[in-house]
Amino acid sequence: MTETLPVIYSITESEIDLNDLLARITLASTGAAAIFTGMVRGITSRGGAHETEYLEYESYIPMAESKMKQVADEIREKWPVVEGIAIVQRIGRLHPKTPTVLIACTAAHRDTGVFEAARYGIDRLKEIVPVWKKEVGPDGQEWVEGNYIPKPGE
């Protein structure tokens, strides 16, 4: 492999452009991409059913980007065949249906772990990347509570 393996990690206030991000992690040897995106739900039924007007995201940006790079490094260690990785979290005021986060992994073939790698990426982002969201709805506003306690070395 002579091409550099591309990795994108970014906290952004701009729209997440899937076409652009995918192109930036596609190599000449790439034949498959697994992409996860999360969106703001306007209507939630699991747990306490409720409506959401918008989410307000904030981040400890320099640490978040460094932890995203760590997530990308963990993916490469677990799935060495992964070629390109993109991890993007959008922050600011985001309304229902808006993509808020993207994890994308590319590889030569689809049976190499790209799906599992993307799934791992979003799970880890939700554990260790310092981003928080406040939910604003018809009944007021409330911080969404995470529940993962990082361990030493994470």
Binding site: L125, K126, P130, V131
Partner: protein, 82 residues
């Protein structure tokens, strides 16, 4: 004395009433002692100190760690991004 900077995020910032502060602390202060001090100096934060996450220079840190000079400390609740 060590000069450090403390950043607050999300619920912890709401309770602290500020995004950041600068502090002079003793040179051998641990994270556990810093939490005690913050809880004592800012009664609003006392309850939060039990479950708060703390970072030193953008890495997760734990009770026994000694706060180094010029550290950038951050306090925040478990993350909820995505």
């Amino acid at each position: 004395m060590n000069k450090i900077k403390i950043l607050f995020f999300a619920t912890i910032r709401d309770r602290a009433g500020t995004k950041s502060m600068e502090l002079d602390i003793s040179a051998d202060m641990t994270i556990a002692q810093l939490k005690d001090k913050l809880g004592a100096d800012h009664p609003n934060l006392k309850e939060s100190m039990k479950s708060v996450l703390i970072t030193i220079n953008r890495e997760y840190a734990f009770d026994e760690a000694v706060v180094p000079p010029n550290a950038e400390i951050a306090l925040f609740p478990p993350v909820s991004g995505g």
